[in-house]
Symmetry: D2
Subunit: 350 residues, 4 copies
């Protein structure tokens, strides 16, 4: 089969023929229909510091996808050949404290398919049955391929109250953009999108954020205060992972507000804990992955009910063999979510 | 001024001239623009058993309204003459355990304006400053007059998770109908409206419930199970206060689901606690009034953001002097929410 | 091996030799050290209506026990021969909505060992690895055998706030008695134990309930109100499953209080929903089993820390072959928790 | 009357005669029985940077006290002359978003008696009726004078689950020491007290912390991991406000754990947000003051029930005129909580 292969501990990746993977008694072999590209894949491609510490080549990356079941192990009971599926790619150990108390998303021994094991940038991928998510035919294929990052957004936005609340999304990469849609669908009454990149701001407008702000050009603090009665926003969804965005997020958060942090800073961040958290009585939540599987139920229900229009985020569609071109598009800052078609069929936009 | 007066302990009420009420240092005198009629007002009008035990004539009823501030007591600081306002009509004591722990809505010594003291079916009404809710000009007058029952719906629907959840509303009087709109606006993915009265079912359809069901004609249990994967709904908003509706609500609730009860049964109800609550691990919430004032913030934010279309519920608009005609309309089962205009100006529909 | 066998669909049970059970790749064979008797076992013994509808003889009952691992299936990794263990006897399917969202304790397809499959009143019992709970040597054997009902108490008492709160326990069977200890250990400031049986009241006193009340002789409502500033208790743990106890529980619950129901009524109960739940703003929780496995962590931590003195509840210790005598003791109302020793070694009291 | 007066914007304070303060219609005049000294008072005394920015001399400091009502304003109804009282010294505005949604403790316009207005280091102090907390005779006078910092501890420890949980208290000033007692009383199963000062560690031992650790001498990380199965503690109560303590707190916090921060850092702190909060799925709470008045109910219930032994924390008792000597004792690091007797009667230790 054709696959994207990170063959050596160096920048780049190649698209080449490899063997179709074998699978065990409790595994599911999926023929990938659409896979999509995450910032993590770019880290692996560029072979940055994080990648050097985590990735062990050779590796097939890719952890966002949908497809159809091609074959199942002999103990598999919940899906069968032909079923339309996606998957949670964080494989939890099932035995640690977190796994035994409903917090598998922060398992002490998690293994991520596409990072720690061969992933979905290939014609076929192997997934443990426990992690397969069977999809209704009402879920469009394009959306089915982006459930992993959509789940990050759903997990973040719904980690506390959002109905009748104001929210600021700091950082409008794909997850930030999805968060705008999720917040609106779930009753947020004012959504402030904050982003320095103009391509991303343009998409944020298409996602119908109420305010799309450029912190490099505008006095975001004053604007937010003006539109929140001087109190600040109820919720900040931190999606940038940048020091300046995080600090701004804390400044515009109201007393008693919720700061849900998903963006990963690449270095330590200096914070004014006294003013930003303690006196303010703020609640700060670290958000990791998706709740297994509460987030998946919420997310697919919202999609199936037609509550989310995610199309503006999908900017590029290309055959998987054009992977390197996709990487260039991503680095340009002009692309948002890129869909790959490993099996050569490029879906037309619905 | 003109007012509806329940003059004697007997059925009926009269519209007549009374003195404009005096007010104290911490009170606000409001010139009523629109008042709306609640089922409680019909109980008072008909002088049923509940009314006989609670009401001490003479009384001006009416606890749903909006208007403009006509005058303020000398210690009032948060509103001034001319401000557009509504009010929370449950006046809490401020000194009991519940009031001192953020649960004023279940104050041990609550006094309700329009029930225990003269209310809003009059040209003027007196409200303590603490209970005045100042309104933005973005709130339409008609909606401003129905914030009390809308608040019941918001309190009920948002008393737990609703985003990405299914909900059944049992009983489609005005509060049930509002609950449909609130649930949809806050991310509910399937809304089942259950109601025996065909006029109400018709409005439920206009409110865009996903399923509008007649329990007298349809097998509601099977239909709900079919559309919830056999599990039942996540949430039931019980708005009927009838034994059969309550029992049906429990039957269609999923294991671990939430039953939020607002409808008031007039007599004891026999329940199968073992199957309906205990084995099921259900959570049952008694819902009373509106959270003071969290619900008011949520509700006015949702209205101001244009998230709620409530017009189908408002079926009748009439001058206050036609009060008795309104009572007849309500008793016919054909009217839902009736608006009264004490000061003679009947608003045209926006 | 020796086992208690419910051989036929009729009253009674016999203690006889049966084959040691076989076990699968993911199972654990445990040599039972101590097993304890639950009211459910008495239902099975008496062959009452519930038992007739649920139990399919022949069956070895018993779902409370501890012991040592005798052998493990070839895929078992978390325990080994000789380990000291107990087990959660509710075997969840792992695939339903509840199981996939952290609510395995209310699994749609639960199977209970000792009810739906052969249990622990035997020299050996087979348990799936997923349900084994490995014990520290700091847990006394007697306590290790009663973790199932202790877990019911922990689940009930900790299903909401308890620190700095008052609680009434209605019904002082073993779980009610354990609840007294758990509430005290977790910061409850006044514990009211309510029970008609004098033997149980005596144990409630030994458990150091602050007030031990007999509803047949005392005006429980007045006493509770006198000691809660007229407000009522913050929490009711309903352990009786009797109509009168449930109604009394609701009456003494304060506005906004929590009613956590574990006792199973054998018939429908008529409730005054208006006064007892709705106006009161009460929260009613159905409590089923133990949270898997949050409750187990909490419970074994509390026991290991020496926070719970449960000895007064253990009234009888006998060889398993005296099972029928145990049933008589239970029916007399004089025994509370009875320990059985299938392997002939009767532990002396620590 | 005699009072401690911060007369000028410079280091020091004097004890001198001043006029007994007047009071308004809704105020209560209290004759102070015992007042206690907080670190804030030392900041004011030393006239450090914080004090220079916040305090406007002349000021009578002191915000921890108890006493008896000497006189009441004409609108006061809930207390009368002779009543034994303490008070919440954060006076909330009652009109901002936070005040109207049950979060008065983070009021946007809070005014603190003893900081922004004359306080309790005097024979008499004036308190608004809304902030008076009437005490039962079961509360010892010494404890009654330290309810403010005890309330900080109760607010912190009970801001999430504590029963059956492990907790680390970083920083053992009086509030940290109180937190040990509160955690133990509310079911914490292992309490790690972490403190560099040996006097404080000695008191932490008297408070019966399970582990008392000196981070300057011991490998706290390893010790905590050894005693938590390698997972880390469930809860950290951060009471030090020092960079090293905060960082250590995050390191020893388990995945999904709760970090409740009350200690106020005097400068920005650099944090590894990726590892310490985001990947870990931690929840960080800023804790400010006491919940008004939920914390007060919890706290006085715990004290009245005899659940807390706080005596080891009270190290010094002296007449108020020895205030400067108290400041020296505090600066020495040898004293913990110092009680002052403005009216000359030094209580003997119960």
């Amino acid at each position: 089969m054709l696959a994207v292969v990170k063959a050596t501990p160096a920048a780049g990746a190649e698209v080449r023929e490899v063997a179709v993977p074998g699978f065990g008694a409790t595994d599911v072999l999926v023929r990938v229909k659409v896979a999509s590209v995450c910032g993590t894949d770019l880290h692996i491609y560029k072979w940055d510091q994080w990648a050097q510490g985590r990735i062990h080549p050779p590796l097939i990356p890719g952890h966002e996808f949908c497809g159809h079941v091609a074959a199942v192990g002999r103990e598999v009971t919940t899906v069968k050949e032909g079923d339309f599926v996606s998957a949670e790619m964080h494989v939890a150990c099932g035995k640690c404290f977190q796994c035994r108390t409903g917090e598998q998303h922060i398992c002490q021994n998690v293994r991520i398919i596409g990072v720690d094991a061969d992933g979905a940038f290939a014609e076929y991928v192997v997934i443990p049955e426990s992690n397969i998510w069977k999809l209704d035919s009402s879920i469009p294929e394009e959306y089915a391929s982006i459930l992993d990052p959509l789940g990050n957004a759903v997990h973040t936005v719904l980690a506390g109250e959002i109905a009748g609340r104001t929210i600021a999304v700091t950082g409008c990469g794909p997850i930030g953009l999805f968060s705008i849609a999720v917040a609106r669908a779930c009753g947020a009454t004012k959504v402030f999108a904050i982003e320095v990149n103009q391509h991303r701001r343009k998409i944020a407008e298409q996602m119908k954020a109420d305010f799309v702000l450029d912190p490099a050009q505008q006095d975001v603090f004053s604007i937010v205060m003006d539109h929140t009665g001087g109190a600040g926003v109820d919720v900040v969804a931190e999606m940038a992972g940048k020091t300046e965005a995080i600090r701004l997020g804390f400044r515009i958060l109201r007393r008693g507000g919720r700061m849900s942090m998903l963006g990963i800073p690449s270095r330590p961040v200096e914070l004014n804990l006294a003013d930003d958290i303690i006196f303010k009585g703020a609640v700060v939540q670290g958000i990791n992955g998706r709740l297994m599987y509460k987030t998946w139920y919420q997310m697919t229900s919202l999609v199936a009910a037609g509550k989310l229009d995610l199309h503006p985020v999908i900017t590029d569609r290309m055959p998987m063999k054009s992977f390197s071109q996709g990487m260039k598009r991503l680095q340009s800052g002009e692309a948002s979510k890129i869909l790959l078609y490993p099996n050569g069929t490029k879906a037309s936009r619905p």
